[in-house]
Amino acid sequence: MSDDDVEMAPWKRKVKGFWEAFKRSKLGMTGLILLLIFLIIAIAAPIIAPYPVYGPESRVGIPFEPPSNEHWLGCDELGKDIFSQLLWGTRVSLFVGFLAALMATFIGLIIGIVSGYFGGVIDDLLMRITDIILVIPGLPFMIILAAVLGPSIINIVFVIGILGWTGTARLIRSQVLSLKERPFVEAARAAGASDAHIMFKHIMPNVMPLAFAQMILGVSGAVLSEAGLSFLGLGDPTHISWGMMLHYAYEFGALHIGAWWYVIPPGILITAVVVAFTFMGYAFDEILNPKYRRRR
């Protein structure tokens, strides 16, 4: 470490240290670049999409028209431009993915910390609930819940988020259990620190990186779940998403006429977005998960 580094603010050095490690991970950087591309697409979709995708004026071609110069990826069963829909679909995937993962991580973090820090009956109760939710089959339950709640983007976010926190909660709890036995927590208590101070100042900063890695991995799961639910016809029909496009492709017999331009591109984009988060999450986990540290 050089002397200049010491002059930097501590948090800047922390971020810098993390970035140095992350930069070395080819997987992580690939994921980050992919994510940046998708973020740009999501923001710029209205500008860069060649055709409108909502409303009657979106029927710009012949149904199931194959790719051409006007329609790079052909048209769907209503004659809507597929390429434009793909660009717009990025928004739903990222929105649902981020929000659901954020919700799941938040619930998981709170339950993990409370359960691990306070222990006893609270811990017992929360962990039994976690165990139960952990074995409830995810997608089947989401299907039922989504069907009962009705199709809307917020419901989809809720349905995915409410089931996705168990892994995070368990991981954070086990971290907190070991953290709270560490002497620095005891030292803080000996100095007169309150439970709140210890939780926010000592426990939180030590579990946040892990929660962050969990959230990134959670986004990939959430994007996949959204795609699955939408494909099954439980998505929000007022918004275009890639899963929804595949739903219509399947329903309206794209397979029977070999309309590959309708079937293949949405899946590639779902895979690419999920890959971005999976790669990044894997890289974060390798850097931040204390379990892996001694392996290097």
Binding site: F141, L255, T278
Partner: protein
């Protein structure tokens, strides 16, 4: 506490979980705003479905208060009475379930077994060649496979191997209208139909398995007892299989248990795409057709399978790890 108490404890936990699933099943359909169950019945035109209402009112006590309905519901479940389908009017749900269950068990059983074997094999290869091409490609390919939406891979397979190349049937479980002279012919046709869905399931899940196996092994490699085993002059195979793999199996068994829920999700999507008449597809069809008794029963069966598989995995863990204090 000995093994027997542990078993009792684990089974009690399982029963509690099943009880929670039953409650979710009940309240979701009866107590949610608007009571979806009654709403469906009331929305039906005159005809046979309306007649079902009387049967349901009698069977599940729909005119009674909610808590009483709940008790009746549990009692009926315990006696195996799932009610009658709304769509296939008058057909007991239990009959539909029993027709569908074997198909799911065959497909999922085969796919899961293959996944675990292939996944572990690749994980072992990757861990043994850490940092080499085989390892790096296992990580990259594994993560990518994990990221593919399973239903889409199904669609691509249908398009490529079914529609364009014509190697495999597009969907279904047996060739329609075909006459089978013996059970063997039937089995061959069944397996031929199963090839694509099974392959898709294995492809998507095996990547994750390979990664988990690899990481578990790499963790074990840093342990001192591996160094001891090497110092003892044991050959690499013995060190690897007797000392490393056996310990790496422990986290794997935990992961097997946790992945059953994931497998169930894969089942619903795969069965739907390939029109495989199993419980997963039944759940989907039921949801789409608002056939709530069928949905409830299908979800219940899936949950039971997952919970049972979990208990088995936990017992296996306790058997493998002498340190488990139950």
């Amino acid at each position: 506490m000995g093994m027997r108490e542990y078993l009792i404890k684990r089974i009690i936990q399982g029963i509690v979980t099943i009880f929670v699933v039953i409650s979710i099943n009940f309240f979701l359909f009866r107590a949610m705003p608007g009571n979806p169950f009654m709403r469906f019945i009331e929305s039906q035109p005159r005809g046979k479905v309306k007649e079902m209402v009387d049967i349901y009112i009698k069977l599940f006590g729909l005119d009674k208060p909610l808590w009483e309905q709940y008790l009746i519901y549990i009692k009926n479940l315990l006696m195996g009475k799932f009610g009658y389908s709304f769509r296939q009017v008058g057909v007991p749900v239990s009959k539909i379930i029993m027709e569908r269950l074997p198909n799911t068990l065959i497909l999922m059983g085969t796919a899961t077994t293959l996944t675990i074997i292939i996944g572990i094999a690749f994980g072992v290869i990757a861990a043994g060649r850490r940092g080499e091409l085989a390892d790096i490609s296992t990580v990259v390919v594994g993560l990518t496979l994990y990221s593919i939406p399973i239903f889409w891979l199904g669609l691509v397979f249908i398009l490529v191997f079914g529609f364009w190349l014509g190697w495999f049937p597009l969907w279904g479980m047996i060739t329609p209208g075909k006459y089978f002279s013996n059970p063997f012919e039937y089995a061959v046709d069944y397996l031929w139909h199963m090839t694509m869905p099974c392959t898709v399931l294995v492809l998507v899940s095996a990547g994750g398995w390979a990664l988990i196996t690899r990481n578990a092994l790499l963790d074990v490699f840093t342990e001192d007892y591996i160094l001891t085993a090497k110092a003892k002059g044991l050959d690499e195979r013995t060190v690897f299989y007797k000392h490393a793999l056996r310990n790496a199996m422990l986290p794997l068994v935990t992961m097997i248990a946790l992945s059953f829920g994931f497998i169930a999700s894969g089942a619903v999507l795969t069965e739907t795409v390939f029109s495989w008449y199993g419980i997963g597809r039944l759940l989907y069809e039921g949801t789409m057709q608002h056939d709530y008794p069928v949905v409830q029963a299908a979800f219940f069966m899936i949950a039971i399978c997952v919970i049972a598989a979990n208990i088995i995995a936990d017992i296996l863990y306790a058997y493998l790890d002498p340190r488990v204090k139950y």
